[in-house]
């Protein structure tokens, strides 16, 4: 730990260089703007920022994207509380208590609680990232190919089972992503797979085009089909922040503790991102909070719980990303993409080979927390003014960013066609309610999963039991199956409850 603190201090020094400091400042502002605009999701914003990092070195690139990610978990709170417009899905629970509090004539108080929750969640996330990353990485140094395969399988199963919604749809999305990753010349044998005689496909399908097309253009097409209908903001709403007193904060110490735990856990577990963290924290508070029965009426607990938990997930996500090279959410998948584009493979070795970079990123998280809170306190009025921009215009520019971003990676017109194709696929996913995140993660992690699987099979003479007989991989594979079985069990239990409820309802009808 003393070594980590020393490295972190050096990280703060490195962060003071103009390129890193500028990247941090830009990331904070852009992340806030993206979160405020309802048509732009946080992941989409991080994706669209990616092309701007091509010409930068790796550290400011990651600092920029991480700052966007962190401030994006906070920015949407303002529109949620003031105008009942959730900028992000993760901001939906915030409006259940934030908006009623604002309607009761206390919008400044609601924004004050949000700021305190974001500050607490942000500091917690930064501390947890520093504290957990090195032990995680040391543990990961024991890994061989079976363990890597097991960990990736666990990561993918988490995304599938914890992302919310339907398990079959998530599995279909994941399989499509894994299949996209198999296109091109295979690494083990050099065989052409699914190229259909098209030379460009030999290089494979760039995950960047999948991400940008499906998330960016897909969302634009979905919004276009809906005619860019955005709720109008209430011009009379007062935009100021009043911080709660220390005694008020102390009264909510239970809420802070519960939501912190939920946030950290949802961060570390792959797939359970900021949105799940936000919903779960609100649910936990509704069940175990001191004033559980008053949740939804405009009480501070309903604001603190989702905001704190969603911000606290960021650091948790950064730990497996840096220590294992496994992203647990859409945004960290993009950050992994940025690492790979700069030729850096995150993993346990990165703490030896790139400690300066890692601790500069950690230091940037500490500074970003204070930066986003200062922005939220002093600059919220101009930030939410972007809501007045016509959505048709912002969406046109988002679509343009998608094209230019994809073209910039390889200067290839084929990638532009890919963007169109994946944009339409992304739209179809939205239309039929298939989640996009499993496809993107499958596309990024597919080659690593296949490679570690094939290497294990070659090294252990096609003995597939190796994944279950080695202690670490065995435990992780068990967790993988548990993660997949959990939603099935949950569905079965719900079906039984529904059946019982229907039977109970039928009894009085039968005996009037």
């Amino acid at each position: 730990m003393p070594d980590a603190i020393h490295q972190l201090a050096l990280g703060f020094v490195h962060l003071a260089t103009p390129s890193n400091a500028l990247a941090l400042a830009v990331g904070l502002v852009v992340g806030m703007l993206v979160a405020v605009l309802p048509g732009l999701t946080l992941v989409m914003g991080v994706v669209l920022a990616l092309p701007f990092t091509y010409g930068m070195s790796v550290t400011p690139s990651i600092v920029l994207l991480t700052a966007m990610y962190l401030s994006g978990t906070y920015g949407g709170a303002f529109t949620s509380i003031l105008f009942r417009i959730p900028g992000e899905p993760l901001d939906v629970p915030l409006l259940w208590d934030g908006y009623p509090m604002a309607r009761q004539g206390q919008p400044a108080r609601a924004l004050g609680w949000t700021l305190i929750a974001a500050l607490a969640g942000g500091l917690l996330t930064a501390v947890s990232a520093v504290a957990l990353a090195v032990p995680f990485a040391r543990f990961a140094l024991r890994f061989d190919s079976p363990e890597y395969f097991a960990i990736i399988a666990f990561g993918l199963s988490g995304v599938v089972s914890l992302g919310g919604g339907s398990l079959p749809r998530a599995l279909v999305s994941l399989c499509i992503g894994l299949m996209l990753a198999t296109v091109g010349v295979d690494e083990t044998y050099g065989a052409d797979r699914f190229t259909f005689g098209v030379p460009m496909l030999k290089d494979g399908i760039e995950y960047l085009t999948v991400m940008v097309g499906a998330y960016g253009l897909g969302e634009v097409l979905t919004r276009l089909e809906q005619g860019f209908v955005t709720p109008q903001m209430d011009a009379r709403a007062k935009v100021s922040t009043r911080l709660p007193r220390w005694s008020e904060i102390r009264e909510l110490k239970g809420t802070f503790a519960r939501s912190s735990l939920v946030g950290i856990l949802c961060g570390i577990v792959p797939g359970a991102g900021a949105t799940v963290g936000s919903f779960v924290a609100y649910g936990v508070e509704s069940q175990y909070g001191k004033r559980a029965s008053k949740m939804g009426t405009g009480i501070p607990e309903g604001i603190v719980a989702p905001q704190l938990a969603s911000t606290a997930t960021v650091g948790g996500h950064m730990v497996p990303l840096l220590a294992l090279g496994i992203p647990g959410s859409g945004a960290t998948a993009v950050i992994l993409g940025a690492f790979l584009l700069h030729g850096v493979q995150p993993g346990p070795q990165i703490f030896q080979t790139g400690a300066d970079m890692v601790y500069t990123i950690f230091a940037s998280m500490f500074v970003a927390v204070f930066g986003m809170c200062l922005l939220g306190y002093f600059a919220i009025r101009p930030l939410i003014a972007v809501l007045r921009l016509p959505e048709a215009a912002t969406s046109a520019f988002v679509a343009l960013f998608c094209f230019v971003g994809a073209y910039s990676a390889r200067n290839s017109v084929t990638d532009l066609w890919m963007i169109v194709a994946f944009g339409i696929l992304g739209y179809l996913f939205e239309r039929f309610r298939f989640p996009i995140a499993p496809m993107v993660l499958g596309c990024i992690l597919g080659p690593v999963a296949e490679n570690s699987f094939m290497t294990s099979m070659i090294a252990y003479s096609n003995d597939w039991t190796v994944f279950f007989t080695r202690p670490i991989s065995g435990v992780v594979m068990l967790l993988t199956f548990a993660a997949l079985a959990w939603p099935l069990w949950r569905g079965l239990r719900q079906a039984l409850r529904d059946r019982e409820a229907r039977a109970d309802a039928a009894i009085p009808e039968a005996n009037p």
């Binding site: 919310g164 198999t182 295979d186 097409l221 809906q226 048709a392 949950r490």
Partner: protein
């Protein structure tokens, strides 16, 4: 009818998966003796995909749909705002425009194609203030040319014939060489 409609996406994915499974025959024999072939991994993924699709088609055909929301979101479904009505013609125009933008960029060059794309997209998106549309599309296009070619050093398409000459003179005017 609703059940059949629910099965359509899975049927489409199943059909593509079956075709791709058949296509793995082309490289299935390329593996070394005693080792898994390069078709093993894609076949395993396609197998899982087909299994899930078949299950969902069967479920849609024989069991009532029980679309459930996410784990916690379900509790708040009743509060979700209703979706606005869909406008398929607008969507079709948007898709056609994005598809046309790619060849247009190669033929007309980035600046002209982008200005037209931005203006047309805003109009399709129901934004009808011609002066703002013109300023935003031309100004936005110029800004993209400047940022990406001068700052980020991306070589954007210049177009063909007279459009190429126009792009070259525009770049010269912006001080981009």
């Amino acid at each position: 009818m609703t059940r059949l409609r629910a099965a359509v996406p899975y049927a489409a994915v199943l059909a593509v998966a079956l075709y791709l499974y058949h296509a793995t025959d082309a490289f299935a024999a390329m593996g070394r003796e005693g080792q898994l072939s390069p078709a093993f991994w894609p076949r395993a993924v396609l197998g899982l995909l087909m299994l899930v699709c078949a299950w969902e088609i069967a479920r849609a055909a024989w069991f009532p749909r029980d679309a459930r929301a996410g784990p916690v979101a379900a509790a708040r479904v009743e509060e979700a705002p209703g979706e606005p009505p869909r406008q398929p013609l607008r969507l079709a125009a948007g898709i056609a425009l994005t598809a046309a933008y790619v060849p247009a960029m190669e033929a007309l060059g980035f600046f002209i194609a982008t200005a037209i794309f931005l203006a047309a997209f805003m109009v399709i998106g129901r934004y009808r203030r011609p002066f703002v549309v013109a300023i935003a599309s031309i100004g936005g296009s110029l800004a993209f040319v400047f940022v990406f070619m001068k700052v980020v050093y991306v070589s954007l398409p210049l177009g063909m014939g007279p459009f190429r000459a126009f792009s070259a003179s525009l770049l010269a005017a912006l001080g981009i060489h």
